[in-house]
Every structure is written in C-alpha cells, then in structure tokens.
C-alpha cells in the first residue's frame, strides 16, 4: 500500500538496505547504507529487522505527505524534523497519521540522514537487495534517487505499542575534527613520508565526495621513489584509502569493487559510519590502529546495538497493523 508521497526529494535521496552481497566477483558493488549503525538503529526504532530498506538522505532532507498510518524514525546526520511545522526529536519513533506532512531540514552536522518506516520501504529486491545502485540503474526506485511525486510503499509491519527512543548518551555526535582510525596497508610499503603525513596532518572533505568515495584535500601524499603510479587492478573494500596520481587521498566507499591505485591504509569498519557522516568542508584526521583494536571496537558497536534491541524489546511491540 502506498504510504508516503514525495513532495520534496532532497539533494540525493536513495533507498538503501544493508547491501547487495555475493556478487563482487562479477563486479557488482555492495551499495547499501553508508552509515550502517544509523540504518540499523533507525530500523530498531520502528520495530523492523536491521536490514529493512530505509531512505538515505544527503545533506538536504525530504518532505513527505503521509497517506496511511506509519511509524518513522530519523537517525544519522542532525537534520531537524517537523511534523505539520511542529518540531519533533530525531533518534526516536514518530507516529504519523494520514494528512500529516513530514519535513526534514538540512543537516546541521553530519552528512547523511536515515529515515526508517514501519515495514521498510517496499521496492522489489534486485540480486538479493533493495539498495539503489545508480550506475547500474538497479535497486530502489528504478535505480535512481527519489524525485518529486514518487509514491513510497511500506512492507508489512506492526505499529509500535509504545514510542521508542535512543537515550541521548547513546547517540553519536558528529564533531570536528572527524577522527578516523586506520590500519596501514594493503600497500603501505609503497609509502614512507606519505604514511607520516597521513597520520599527522589534517585533511578537508572535498565537495566532490559521493557514494563512490570520500575525496579529501590536503597535503600531498607522495609515493616512495621509483614506485609505480598505478598497480595491477585488484579488489577493494570500503574504507580503503586510495592515493591516485595527484596524491590526494580518496576513502573508497560502497559503489565500486576494484581499483588500480595503491591504498596506503584502510579505515576500520567501526569508523565507516564516521566517514559516511563527514560532509564537504569537514576536517578529517587519521589515527593509526591495528586489527586487534579494530575488532574490539567492532564488538563494542555490536554490543551497543544489542543493548538497544534489548531495551526496546522489554518495552514490548505493538499490535496495531498497517
């Protein structure tokens, strides 16, 4: 059933879930929510499974007209929310009724906001995922960003019995500078002076940053003498810090599977949400870490989500149906 009508689509709003897996060997990138923590939390807030499809908004939010009763929740970037002009909180569930107007304003901090809805955004899965891949024009709404007049259907799900809220202490804050922990490699041996610069100097997020990669501007990262400018193309992972010929780092994200430039270091998976929330003009600094610390941080993230899940399940789920 159509639940939401897009009045304003925002700057670049796509349908995303946790990604499209198992096709990297065919060159099909994972896509998916760049800030997985925010996506999973938004789903928990409306009583969904973590992998339901959400809207990922970039800097500017959407305006939606509500056609049927639904719970929604906004997480991620600090985008003020209004229902019929009344300000409401983010990181908590919001009950909407037919005729309501949901307005999400531009981000005051962070870059990407996630809007979850009861039952998830219902679009047909393509290759096992509802995530939008704009290059291949697949997933989401015909493989494209939202536009004015789109109708969004929600999947089957129950309205909440009681509202849900992430305690303020458990909400991430997007402060400056953005600190990203990274493990040297896979091609750290291509650099000497460059490693020193990466881990000691600040960088600025470029206006050309997108879902392919978070482009940075700052001190040039030189290759070691006599190292080739490019390498034989090899598979890449989100978080890889690629150094192209101009020496300006790019943190690779979710829309490509292979690359032909050396990667000096890799942002740890626990800090990928922070990359997703780094907006053009933000300052980024890198701190060196190792796989063991990265694993512990990842475990902490999982525990944080488990704690939220437990907190919400104690308070019970709703019986009303959509």
């Amino acid at each position: 059933m159509n639940t939401l009508l897009v009045i304003e689509p925002g700057a670049f709003t796509t349908v995303q879930d946790l990604g499209r897996f198992g096709y990297r060997h065919l060159g099909v990138p994972p896509s998916g929510a760049l800030d997985e923590f925010a996506c999973r939390t938004a789903n928990l807030l409306v009583g969904n499974a973590p992998g339901h499809a959400v809207l990922e908004m970039t800097l500017a939010g959407v305006v939606l007209a509500v056609l049927a009763p639904v719970d929604v929740a906004l997480t991620g970037a600090d985008m003020p929310v209004r229902v019929n002009r009344q300000p409401v909180d983010n990181w908590c569930s919001i009950r909407l009724a037919p005729g309501d107007l949901l307005r999400i304003e531009p981000a005051r901090s962070g870059c990407r906001g996630y809007l979850a809805v009861t039952g998830g955004i219902d679009v047909p899965p393509v290759m096992g995922s509802r995530s939008t891949n704009t290059m291949a024009a697949m997933g989401g709404l015909e493989g494209r960003p939202l536009k004015k007049g789109d109708l969004l259907a929600c999947g089957a799900g129950s309205l909440l019995e009681r509202p849900r809220k992430v305690p303020p202490a458990m909400r991430p804050r997007y402060t400056q500078p953005v600190v990203l922990r990274a493990i040297p490699g896979p091609q750290d041996d291509f650099f000497t002076e460059g490693l020193q610069r990466l881990f000691t100097r600040p960088f600025t997020v470029s206006a050309r940053a997108d879902r392919m990669g978070c482009r940075l501007e700052g001190p040039q990262i030189p290759l070691r003498r006599a190292m080739p400018e490019s390498i034989i193309s090899e598979p890449i992972l989100p978080g890889g810090i690629q150094i192209p010929a101009d020496g300006q780092p790019i943190i690779l994200l979710n829309e490509q599977t292979a690359g032909g430039y050396a990667k000096i270091a890799t942002v740890i998976s626990a800090d990928l949400p922070a990359v997703a929330q780094a907006a053009a003009g933000d300052t980024v600094v890198f701190r060196q870490t190792d796989p063991r610390i990265a694993r512990d941080l990842r475990r902490e993230n999982e525990l944080r989500l488990a704690r939220l899940r437990e907190m919400f399940s104690k308070k019970g789920r709703g019986k009303g149906s959509v």
């Binding site: 896979p186 193309s233 890449i236 978080g239 694993r295």
Partner: protein, 239 residues
C-alpha cells in the same frame, strides 16, 4: 605490518592486510596466465568449502581478496589456511573455461579512438581490427563496473595508454584498450580507455541468471560485424 610476508616457505604467496575484515592473498606480481590459474584454483577451493568466518572471496589478476568476519576468525588463522591450501593447489579442480564470441562493430561513432590507436602504431584501422579479432583473451578479473571484464592477451602492437582526460560518459557496450589490456563497458559510465568499437550484446542483466555471461578465467573472442548486423542484434537483445 602489511606488505609481503617474507616468512612463508614458498615465496610465491604473500599477504596484505586490508583493514579489519579483508586479507589480500597474492600469488605473483605480474599479469601471467599461470598466476591467474592459481588464483582461480584457490577461489574455487574457497567457494566449494569456505573456511569459518569467510564471507566472500573475490579473484583478481594475481590476488584473491578474502572478506571475513573479524569476530569469528582472524588474520593468523586465514594465513594458515592459505598456506595449507597452497600445498595442495595442483589437486584443486578448477571449472574448465568457457569461450564466448562477442560481436563488435568497430570504428565510426562506435569506436571514436580507433583511428588514434591505428596512427599511434603506424597501422591502418583495418589492421587494428584484424589484430584485435585474431586473439583469444582471458577474463582476468571482473570489476570497475558490474560485468566489466579486464581481458589479458592483447597483441603488444595494440598497447595504447589511457586518455589523458577520461570521458565523463562512455556508452554501454563500448570495447576499449588501455595499455596492455582490453575490456568492455557493459554499462554507461565514465571511463578513460581508448574506445575502438561497440558490442550490441547485453553483458550485465541483474534479472538474468547468471547476470554476467562470463566468469574470471573464461575466454573471449571478438568478431567484427557491420553496422547493420549491430542494429539487428541490438534489437534482439534489448527488445
């Protein structure tokens, strides 16, 4: 900490660390048929029986990316696994490669860089087409965009550098050359390769099974077709 592992008994296998959930296993340093065969053998073994905690294994020219769950397994355990696998690498059954013929309409609007490639090597466009269609290529890796095959085996006479400034829009089906590689853009995308022709075939279809008609290790031959054949085939493919 990353870099090539100097402590392996066999110097051919090396490990590079890709953050906290990726390990790149390297089987050589060059574009080489034997190295690529090794990568495919290992990929087949991992696919048949993935070690605990391994989520995905992605074969490339000379390396295999292993994506793992760091809460279930770790670098040490994976390195041990690949060293053990290395000892029985010759006994791994690798699926036999398929050969696929891909029709290409060369030159004109479909191959705006054909003349440049010919001039750079003192060849006529016809000679370039003859050289390009004479070889059988190996799919060394699929990447860049869905279905994009990096093909090894280009005639050295055709090796041409990338464009200085990449095009913002390369049409779907474009057949191209960059240095010692040739490849096909299955989707419209930006790109810096020299475009010499275009195939009418649909090479990536998310609703087909399989979505891409070739895999790493398969062989590809190009055949030259006329403009008219191109139009007929394209209609068949996309109607």
């Amino acid at each position: 900490m990353a870099g090539n592992d100097e402590h392996t008994q066999r110097p051919t296998i090396g490990f590079r660390i890709m953050g906290d959930r990726g390990l790149l296993v390297e089987y050589g340093h060059t574009i080489d048929e034997a190295v690529n065969h090794k990568v495919r053998s290992v990929a087949a073994a991992v696919a048949a029986k993935p070690p605990q905690g391994v989520l995905e294994a992605v074969p490339a020219y000379r390396s295999l990316l292993v994506i793992y769950d760091p809460l279930t397994t770790g670098i040490r355990r994976l390195q041990d696994y690949f060293r053990r696998l290395e000892k029985r690498i010759d006994r791994i059954a690798v699926p036999p490669p398929q050969t696929l013929d891909i029709p290409v309409c060369y030159g004109g609007d479909f191959g705006p860089d054909l003349d440049f490639v010919a001039r750079s090597h003192d060849l006529t466009p016809q000679e370039v087409i003859a050289l390009h269609t004479a070889r059988t290529y190996t799919v060394c890796m699929i990447g860049f965009s869905p279905g994009f095959p990096f093909l090894g085996g280009l005639a050295p006479e055709l090796s041409t550098p990338r464009l200085k400034t990449p095009r913002t829009r390369v049409p779907r089906g474009s057949v191209a050359i960059a240095n010692s590689q040739t490849g096909i853009y299955p989707l419209e995308s930006p790109g810096g390769w020299q475009l010499i022709g275009r195939t009418p075939l649909k090479l990536f279809d998310p609703f087909a099974e399989p979505p891409v008609p070739y895999r790493t290790g398969d062989r590809i031959r190009f055949t030259s077709i006329t403009d008219r054949e191109y139009r007929r085939l394209r209609q068949e493919q996309f109607s």
